[in-house]
Amino acid sequence: VTESVLRTKFQVPRQRPLLVARPDLVHKLSQGLTGRLTLVSAPAGYGKTTLVAHWVSTLVDQTDLPGWRLCWLSLDQEDDDPARFLLYLMTALQSAMPSVDDTDRHELRNLQAAGLTVGLAYLINLLDKMAGPTILVIDDFHLIAEPAIHRGVDFLVEHLPQAVHVVLISRADPPLALSRLRARGQLSEIRQSDLQFSNEEAAAFLTRSAGLSLAAEDASCLNERVEGWAAGLQLAALAIQAQSGARLEVGRTQFIRSFAASDRYIMDYLVEEVLQQQPDDIKHFLLHTAVLDRLTAPLCAALLADEGAAVDERQVQHILDRLEMANLFILPLDNERCWYRYHNLFADLLRKRLQQHRPELLPELHGRASHWFENHELPDLAVNHAIMAGDIERACHLVDLTAEGMMMQSQIVTLLRWLDNLPPAAIQQRPSLAATYAGALLLQGRPLAEVDRWLQQTVALAGHESRGEISIYQALLAVYRLDTVEAMRLAGEALRLLPEKSVFLRSLATEVKAFVYTIEGDLALAQQAFGEAVEIGRATGSLLIAVGSLCNQAGLLVFQGQLHRAQAIYEQALALSVTQSGIQLPIASKALIGLGEIYREWDELAEAERLTRQGLDLYLDYTEAAVVFGLLSLARVKQSRGEFDAAQQLVERARQSAVRFDVTELDDFLVDCFQAQLWLAQGHVAAAASWASGRSASRSSLPAPLCEMEDMVLIRLHLARGEPDKALALLRPLVTLEEQRAFNGRLIKLLVLQALAHWVSRAPEPALAALTRALALAAREGFKRVFLDEGQPMAEMLQLAIGQHVVPEFTAALLGSFARDRTPSSEAKPPVPAGSLIEPLSDREMEVLQLIADGLSNSQIADRLVISLSTVKGHASNVYRKLNVQNRTQAVARARALGMIVS
C-alpha cells in the first residue's frame, strides 16, 4: 500500500480526453521551454493540472522531436518539510537520469541528512551530467510554506542545467525570485485570465463533458455566471443533467436563468442541486469519506463500517467507479484504479456539510482513518488523522514510534510540526517523546536555553524512564557548551542504556565521546571512538558519517604532528566521497580543506589554495558553521602568501557567517582569535590589545581548549609589546600539556613561540635550544610554514642554527624557502626536487602511472585493472598532483626523470 500510494505522486494524473482543445495555451507552454521556469498560477478549479498534463503528453508523444523526459511530482500537505521535499524531488527526477547508478541513488538518500541545498547541488550536478531534455512538473506547489524550500527551489531554478525546465502549478504566486526571472525573459506564465473559458469554449466543454447541446445563449449565460471557471461549469453541467422532467429543454433554460439571476455562492447553489439527486448510498459515501485526502476502496470500507459490521470492498469499489464515471468530485490517481482523491474544492464543500450536519462523526472518522493508515505502514498519515481526531494519547503514541526514523532522515520540520500541535503536558508524560522534542529543537537550531529548559523539565518528570534518550541530547547540549566532563558522562550513560537497534542515537553518542577524547588528549581512545563511528557509517551505508569520522581521525593526526598519515586518511576520505559516476559529495569539502591545511604547512601554497577553494565551493551553504572554518583556512593560506588584504576580506566574510549562525558562539570566538592574530602579523598592536582587554572579562567561563587557543594569540601580543617574560610564563604550562598529550603538531608551534620569546629577550642560547627541539620534531614530517610565517627574527635564528649544524639539511631547506618568499617573482611553483616526492604514490597509483607510460588510454586501464573509468581518472589526477604536472605526457616525463617507471 505504501508503495502504491507513493507511486501516485510521481505519475502524470490520468487523463480524460481533453474536453476543450486549447491550442493557444499549449503553444504558450511549449514556447516557455526556452526559459527556465513556467508558472501556472490560478485558483482551484481552473483546470491547471489538466492543461499541463495534456501538454506534456503531446510533447512526449511527438516522436520526431528529441525525446523530452518527463518528471512529475504531486505535492501533499505533508511534503512541506525540506527533507521530505528533497527526497521526493530526487525520486521524481531519477526517471530523467536512466544512467544513475546504485551509488548515486544511495548517496541521494544519504544526502537528505545534509540539508536541502547540499542535496540540490548534488542533484543539479547529476542532471548536468546525465539528463537530456527534461521537464519537471511540480503540482500543488502552494502547499509549500517552508521558507527553506522556497529558497531551495530558487537555488534549483537559478542553477538549472540548460536542458531542464521546471513547471510549477500553484493556486497562488509562490514567494520565489520571479521578478528576476521575468526581467531576464526566463519566466513564462499561465494565469487565471488565460485559463478562463471563452463562451465558445464553454459551449464546447458542456457538449463534450455532459452531452449537453445548449443553445449558444444559454451556454454564454452560464459561462458568464461562473466567469469562465471550469469547476463551476462542470458542476453546472451535472446540475443540469440532474434536472428531470418531460419538457427537458424548458426545464434547462429555466434552471440556467434562475441560476444566473441568483447571487448565491456558485458552489452552494450547484452542489445542493447535484447532491439532492444522488441515491442514498452515494450521499452516505460522500459524507463519510470527506475527511480523506486520498481514497482507496479498503480505506473507504473501514470508514463506512457501521457498528462493526464490515462493508464489502467490492461494493465500495463499485461506488468509486460510478463516481468516476459520472465525473462526480473524484479524480483517479493511477491507472490501476486503486487510489483516488477528491477534487480539493469539492472536498472542502463536503467537509463543510459534514461539519454542519454530523459534527459528532468527525472524531470517529478521523480515528478510523488513523488506525487504517497505521496498519498499512503510513505512519505520518496516521499521525495527522489522530491529531485531527483530537486523540492526543494516540497521536503521542504514534509520534513516539516513528521519531528516531524521522530524525535519521532529518525530517525535523515535520516532527516539530506534529509536536507543536500536541499539548506540552501530554508530551511531558512520555519521557522518550519529550526527549525527542528536545532533540528536534536542538537540531533545528532553536536557542540552547529553550532546549535546556525543556530537558530539565523532562528530567524532573521522567524519573528513570527513557534516560538513554534524554542523556544523548543532554550530551549534545554539553558539547555545544564545551562542558567536556558532563558530555562524556552523559554520552557514556546513553550508550549503556540505549538498545543496539537505536543506531542513529548511538552514533551520536559515539561522536560525542570521540570529540571529548580529542579535547582531553586521550588519543588512542579518540581514534578508537572515531573508528567505531566510521564502522557505524559503513555498516549503515552512511557515507556522511563514514567520511566525516575519517576526517576527524585525520584531524587528530595533524594535532599529533603526523602529517603524512593524516594526508593518507584524508585521501582515503576523498576517495570514499566520490560516487562511481565520478561526482564528489559535499562532505568531501571537509577532507579537501583538511588537505589544504597540510599542504599549507608543507609550504605548497598554490596547491593549498586550490584545495581549500575547491572545498569551500563544495560547502555552499552546507552549514554556516562549516563555512566559517573553510573561510578561515583560506585566510590562513592567503596570510602565508603575504596577501594580507585578501586574508582580511575573508575574515570579514567569516564574521558575517558566524553572526548568522546562532546555535553556538564557538565560530564567533574563532573568528575573533584569527582577527587578532592577523592584526598582530601586520603590526596593528593597538587593535589586538583592545581585543585582549575585551576578552579577559569572560575568560574564567571559557572551556580549556578555547583558553589555550586564546593564549596563543595573547603570547603573540606580549611578544609584540616587548613583554617576553609574560609570554614565556603563558607558554610554560602549555608546553608541558602538549608534551604530555604528545600533540607534536601543536608542540612545534609552542616551541617556535618559546624560541621567539627568548630571542626577543636577547637570550640566544635558550632560544636556540627551543628552536632545535622544534626543528627536530618538524623535520621528519616537513612542517615549514610554522617557521616561515614568523618572518625576519626566525630567519636570523635559523642562520644561527645552521652555523651550529642543527638539523642541517632541513634548516638549509627552510632558509632556501625564506629566500624564495622574499623574491616577488616566486609565484611560479618551485619544481619538485628530483629524486624524491614529498607525497609518495600509492601502489595503485604507481600501477596506473606505469600503464599510462605504456600508452594505454584511461578506459583500457579501467579494463586492465577491472576498476571503473572514474576511479582511473581519480587515480590519474592524484598522480598528476603528486608529480606536480598537468597532463599525462608531462607525468610520464617527470616519472622517468625521477626513475619511478621503467621505459
Binding site: A172, A231, Y265, L345
Partner: protein, 81 residues
Amino acid sequence: MATAIPPDVYQIEIQGHLDESWSDWFNGLTIGAGTTGTTTLTGPVADQAALQGILIRIWSLNLVLLSVNRVSLTRGTTSDR
C-alpha cells in the same frame, strides 16, 4: 500567562452571497448580507495566523475577496489596512 485583552474583531467582505451555514467553516464568524450582492464575515479573530487561515479558506473556495477591515481597536494601534 493569559492576557485579558480580547481578540480583535475583523470584518471581511466577499463578493456573492454566502448563507449562514458557512459560519462554522469560517471559525464561527457571523455571516451577513452586505451591500449589493456581497457577504460580510464579522467576528473576533484570535491573531494574525487565524486571520491568515480564514483568508486561505476564502481563497481555496475561489471566492472573490473585496476587503478586510479591523473594526475594533482594542490594541490602540492604528486601524485597518
